[in-house]
């Protein structure tokens, strides 16, 4: 995967959320209202905590499978 421009080794076919966790990347975003760190929580597509940019689209990382070279950005609109 390309995570914010960096290469991260991941197993193809597992969810992007699982791959990030396996790579030690636990903090995925900050909450918009309180600015507190958040990571994947329900892993079944319900809580929306794992929402990141995948190939430029806001997606739930737990619902998208890793494929070769998939681009993931954790720097959402609230990062800068």
């Amino acid at each position: 995967m390309r995570v914010d421009g960096r290469d991260v080794v991941a197993t193809p076919g597992i969810s992007v959320a699982a791959a990030l966790l396996a790579a030690g990347i636990v903090v995925l975003r900050r909450s918009p209202a309180g600015d507190t760190p958040r990571g994947a929580f329900c892993l079944m597509g319900v809580c929306q905590e794992c929402t990141v940019l995948i190939e430029g689209r806001a997606e739930r990382a737990c619902m998208i499978a890793v494929r070769d070279g998939i681009a993931v950005s954790l720097r959402g609109p609230h990062a800068e």
């Binding site: 597992i14 699982a18 396996a22 929580f41």
Partner: protein, 469 residues
Amino acid sequence: MKVDLAVLGAGPAGANAALAAAGHGLSVAVIDENAAAGGQVWRAPAPSVTRDDADARDGAALREKLRISTVEHLDSATAWLIARDDAWRVDVARHGRSETVTADALVIATGAHERVMPFPGWTLPGVIGLAAATILLKANGVLPGQRTVVAGCGPLLSLVAASILKAGGTVAAVVDLASRAEWLGALPALAARPDLLARGALWRARIAAARVPVFHRHTVIRAEGTERLGAVRLGRVDAEGRLVPGAPEVAIAADALAIGHGLVPDTAATRLLRLRHRYDAASGWVAARDGTLAGSVARLWLAGEVGGIGGAAVAALQGRLAGLAAAQALGRSAAAAEAAQLQAGIARAGRAAAAMSWMMRPRPAMAGGITPETIVCRCEDVPRAAIEAAIAAGARDLNQVKQWTRCGMGPCQGRMCGEAAASLLAPHVGGRENVAPWTGRPPLRPVSADDLLGDFDYADIPIPAPAPP
């Protein structure tokens, strides 16, 4: 797309409903936002994961049956709107655009999601759901962390702890709201399911062999850390889930906490349709259905956990029953004998399932562990104190709490905070059964505006001639 029957959800319930109806000659579309059928318990493992347990086999068999059937499987399809005009209409976002499925009959089989009662620190990265951990382990082959505390209630505790150990991980502790005696009391109801008993015994043996400390009648008081989880603090509770004052606390270093307090039926679709719901002590608010699983409006059936937590075996049988009922209602001859057989099977399997969902129930005094600063609504960062302030100012139902505080207004649409908000409101209105769930609103799941617009182009908008000046 136009079909006889649309089925929402391709878990054990929905997939079996689709197969049964197609077997009796209906044209069927089954809609699910996952890439493969199976739902939660039979979720398809990634190609890198090799498994040969009963759930993996059942899931693979189900997917094979679907593949060779006439059922149209709309995978990776998020249903965001359901409505009824002359026929049922389900709008789904799929592959970057929205499409409409119309159908004469509808089966809703949206299953359940997890309940996690809030506690200080539960928003820290590294804290995940207990059922969530089963997905990591079973479908992805990934451990929740280096050292995991497994906490909450119900049979998933031993399943998750044993799976972590089997995968070579470390379980720092198992923290169970239930006492040993409560577990022993649940055993007789499992007599009809020797397979479940044997699995449970195997999990416990693995946990004991690894000398994992097991804390019965304990709960997580707090998850500690700044940017991510570093430690978990435990305390003793009574049978109602109330912290025992003065009991010593235990701190355990851990980088992962898998915690869950049972399952909540996903009634977003049934609430959107304004169906009749009822309160059930073990499952909470569920969509009401009769003995043939018909919902409170015509040509609609409710299969699986959307109508009450019952486990995979019950969900699968209910799915078949709903599929048969739909086929019969649309004029196909379905054998009455099969329906009776299915109903008997559901009653048999239901006993073990009821015992397990009882072990998973949230304990009545658990809301006491939510401190005033604890975030209840994760999406909108609403603390308990804000909800209490709204209640003190007169909010008397969940919708009012939502309008007052934004609790439940974020992208999860109240799925993560609904149970906690309801239990904070309950003592003010005479109990949980008096706290009706949020009013259902579209979209059922967040959907991107791009998907709704599809290939829409501004240049295509017909612009009327300007009015004369």
